[in-house]
């Protein structure tokens, strides 16, 4: 979390800051993430608390939730995903425009949690790539916020060209996503 509030590096003088385009774009993206909540169970309730006044998720530039995947930057999967729901989640992910990030909130989204059974997906990373995992059953709002701050670090520091890199293409190909 300490890294999160770091000052933008660059050549600074009175009233101006010169820095690389990547860093400026990263800063802009990082502080205006539009999350898409994919809440299926109790972690979703914790997310509601995260959005409400006490924890106030809006402080981090994510005031505006996007309920259309096409406008969202961050897919927040909160709750148990059954195998029948799997293709739906995957389609939502595919509909999001690049750049996009995914956070798995809670034990169920991360690993299937206590539901080690035939009908439950054993972690969403079996069908879509995940950037940050938040442990907990359910995690407290502080943990969810910490997870999103980790996402912000990624957004800030990731190369603008990473999404065109062979590694990224390979990652998507390993999930069968074009």
């Amino acid at each position: 979390m300490s890294e999160n509030n770091q000052k933008l590096e660059g050549f600074e003088g009175p009233g101006f800051l010169a820095t690389s385009l990547g860093k400026a774009v990263g800063m802009a993206r990082k502080n205006s993430i539009w999350p898409l909540p994919f809440a299926t169970s109790c972690c979703g309730i914790e997310f509601m608390a995260t959005m409400a006044s006490t924890y106030d998720f809006g402080r981090f530039g994510s005031e505006r939730l996007s309920f259309s995947p096409r406008q969202a930057d961050l897919l927040m999967v909160m709750g148990t995903i059954s195998k029948k729901m799997g293709p739906v989640l995957r389609q939502v992910y595919e509909q999001m425009a690049e750049p996009k990030w995914v956070i798995a909130v809670g034990a169920c989204a991360s690993t299937g949690g206590i539901f080690d059974t035939y009908s439950v997906l054993q972690g969403i990373d079996r069908i879509i790539p995940v950037d940050v995992y938040v442990p907990g059953c359910p995690p407290r709002p502080e943990q969810i916020i910490d997870g999103v701050l980790k996402i912000q670090d990624l957004v800030q520091n990731e190369s603008l060209r990473r999404r065109n890199s062979p590694e990224y293409q390979e990652l998507l190909a390993s999930y069968g996503i074009e």
Partner: protein, 167 residues
Amino acid sequence: MSSLTQEYITEKLQSKFEGAIQSIEMLHDFLTITVDKSSLKSLMQFLHDDELLNFHFLTTLCGLHFPDQPAQFGMMYQLHNMPANYRIRIKSFTNDSEPVFETMSDIWPAANWQERETYDFFGYRFHGHPDMRRILNMDSLVGWPLRKEFPLEDPFRGDKDDKMFGR
């Protein structure tokens, strides 16, 4: 309102379905009748149609699986006569490798989805059902999850080490 009694129902069913009824017993204040599979549908129709019995409400139905019994696959129905506030339970068993029961959805439309659920979890088919396909599980699921031989845990999970989980 006439009130139903165990004696009345027993007598009436035994006179009409003699030979088809395997047992009649009270299980925890619940009249439970086990009947041959071949007579199941006609007995259910009779329970529904008879003016005095008047079991007009299907509370629930589900599949049963007792692998140790000679007839291991079964069905269970609970019926309710609301005016008399009397409940009854009907059971029927078979040992066919691919069990087929008669549908009850033409008598009680409520049976439609519940029979689909039974098909989904036990693999019993229902003859005459209008839409016999899975209802809750994903279509690609192989097997019948509530049969006793079905492994409950996800067999594709590699991180559960027996040493760690004491199994």
